[in-house]
Amino acid sequence: SLPEMVVDGIEVYSTKIHCRVTSRFAHNTVTTRATNRAETAKEVSFDVELPKTAFITNFTLTIDGVTYPGNIKEKEVAQKQYDRAVSQGKTAGLVKASGRKLEKFTVSVNVAAGSKVTFELTYEELLKRNKGKYEMYLKVRPKQLVKHFEITADIFEPQGISSLDAQASFITNDLLASALTKSFSGKKGHVSFKPSVDQQRSCPTCTDSLLDGDFTITYDVNRESPANVQIVNGYFVHFFAPHGLPVVPKNVVFVIDVSGSMYYQKLKQTKEALLKILEDMKENDYLNFVLFASKVRVWKDHLIQATPENIQEARAFVSNIAAEDTTNINGGLLRGIEMLKKAREEHQVPERSTSIVILLTDGIANEGVSRPEDIQANARNAIGGKFPLYSLGFGDNVDYGFLEKLALENNGFARRIYEASDATLQLQDFYEEIANPLLTGVEVEYPQNAILDLTQNTYKHYYDGSEIVVAGKLADKDMNHFKADVKGHGAFNDLSFTEELDAEEMEKARQEQDYIFGDYIERLWAYLTIEQLLDKRKKAQGEEKENLTAQALELSLKYHFVTPLTSMVVTKPEDNEDQTAIADKPGDDQVDVPPSSAVLVGYQPPQTPYYYVDGD
């Protein structure tokens, strides 16, 4: 080893990130091998930042050839182990939300002099299609130069890969070109990023690493047909992403918080984003603005068509929005909802159009109806399932849990807008995602009695560039004919797509299993089911919530997923005393609050006791 590669006695021999993606389902393994070259025991730590949408499925620790595997346990059981470890004076590293897209997994372990340690973390996620691409996001941040650093991705897509790209934010294009290879042909794609030690240096004579940033792989598949069904071992997944359809006109009401807390920067960014959004509005869309502080005021009494003249007027209105006073979310929201309902009832908007409420707020209701439960009930009752509500939570003080439930209860979703220089872009990005509905009222149907345990199969909207994914179990594992119908309403017509697989096609699909990890569709189904159960759980109460929790927990345990309901425990016997590591999953609403979850690693206390002197 080169002396410069040993930092504080520890040499990190290799770090390898291997991603195996089959039909959008990513199975990622991060492996780090290190050696303690010091003459005394040293603490070696292992940090991985993984997507918030991923579930850890395994973590193992191998010390001097002995592997300590991870076990998934119900969170409460793991918590007791955690508490016991803490009470025995062991320290804990924490898993917490890290930035916008990631959460951080940290483990450290004491390694004897001359010993070798291998950390291996595995996580899985279903890559979601957004604006026509699947994105796999990896954070790269080795603490020191690594002899063998490598990221590899093997992608297998039965539909065939239409594009593949990889980008690193931390390296110049010249260096990237020599360290990165990417290729795809037919159904297979491959990405390899393998910087040499010299390429990792932040400068030619530096011993610190420049590898610190985002590594992103993006790709898409061929779309000769709008749908694709894959069946393996009695489980199926049905992908549906039609294109080439005209956009359904939208009726959008922006319900915007203009209370005092939005003053200056947040309002400035909101206005910039709205001005950009107005530029992108299509002429057959309708819109209005509802501003709320202590009082509610509207731009127009009813929705207005996005003609060039009206857009010009809207721009002037947006430019003059000013912040004031307290926060009456309930008042603003109900005004917006009523306006959309009235527009439909009075035929002010095209019959074949879709309505959307977009709520943007940075705070907590403190004017009018302010109990979150009451606001949620009011919105739910007023909307009555007729159209979706999207919540955008701006900044750190927002009650994100409330906004998320509000959106989920009304067929929408919530997004956090991070208070940063790119907040304007974040808002625009959100809008672009929902700006192009191609279908509304989408229903995916399968023959009755043929399918069990179906994941969500109805969607209010299908947006251009996204993808609807439905998975389930076949009632008869050996069935040799599969049929699915997808119905939806387009801008001008109703469409009914049929996807059929005959015995021959099903056999061909089975043969393709040689290329893929065998139970991936079953795991994809389990992942999707757990994700949807957890979402439903967020808006459920009482017995329903308990049932949903029980179902999600059972699946998490069965499929070895670290979800918000489970923890992974790694126990390393040492000195007749168990050392315990626990991996948990923090929720998104836990940002900037003390995490209730942790990775704990058993840690040998320092040999020399510490003595404390306190001022009192």
């Binding site: 359809l245 005209p246 469409l495 049929t498």
Partner: protein, 240 residues
């Protein structure tokens, strides 16, 4: 392309070929009352034959429009485009999809055909003929069938449309031709006396690769004498 005209009253069929240069667009149906128009663009083989008598021509593009619904449908062997006004929807022959809107239903049956209905009483079928992609000569082409036209008006015209009205013909003097399996005869139709040959053409509605033989009287010279007016009358400048 070859045309087959079933004459129900006679329990027989007439057929003719239209030989025009690739790129030529022909008016197949035009009904000013229902607003329906069907045009077809001719394509040739990948390698054009020097001899115009032996060259093959097919329909490579069909344009179906309904002026009253403001709907246009363009079908090629590669894709199907539907316009509602200026808004375009594109479908592939790999789709199985039914599109329903006021006054129209379009059902695409994956790799086979499109069944297009305008209200009750007008139904067309477009058949996809696929050949081996690497075939040195032939290329994919389309067939067009009118399976129901009873709601089309008496003013309907076009290479096919003119036959939606009752047609009468008489065949006499059937005699052996140069090819013993193809007797020739004299036909009186639309006040013309024509020399016709007994032959057969294929109906590919049920199966685009096999087809069902339809015995017919073949009218030579681009249907001259059977068709109203001159062939040039049916040539239009564009698909829509």
């Amino acid at each position: 392309p070859h045309f087959i005209i079933r004459v129900p009253g006679k329990n027989d069929a007439l057929c003719f070929n239209i030989d025009e240069d690739p790129g030529t667009v022909l008016r197949l149906i035009h009904d000013p009352v229902t607003g329906l128009t069907v045009h077809g663009e001719i394509i040739g083989d990948k390698v054009a034959s020097a001899d115009s008598k032996t060259r093959n021509t097919y329909f490579g593009k069909l344009g179906i429009a309904n002026a009253y619904l403001d709907v246009r449908i363009e079908v090629t062997p590669e894709k199907i485009s539907l316009w509602n006004g200026e808004a375009q929807s594109t479908f592939s022959w790999l789709d199985t999809v039914t599109v329903t809107q006021n006054g129209m239903t379009m059902a695409i049956n994956r790799k086979k055909n499109i069944v297009l209905s305008f209200g009750d009483g007008v139904t067309f079928v477009v058949v996809l003929h696929q050949v081996w992609k690497k075939h040195p000569v032939h290329r994919d082409f389309l067939g067009f069938y009118v399976v129901d036209s009873h709601r089309m008006s008496a003013q309907t015209h076009g290479l096919l449309g003119q036959f939606f009205h009752p047609l009468d013909f008489e065949v006499s003097d059937i005699r052996p031709g140069l090819d013993p399996s193809k007797p020739v005869a004299t036909m009186v139709v639309k006040n013309h006396q024509l020399k016709v040959t007994r032959g057969s053409q294929k109906d590919y509605r049920r199966d685009a690769s096999v087809g069902v033989k339809v015995a017919c009287w073949f009218i030579h010279n681009n249907g001259e004498g059977l068709l109203d007016g001159d062939l040039k009358d049916y040539i239009v400048p564009a698909l829509f």
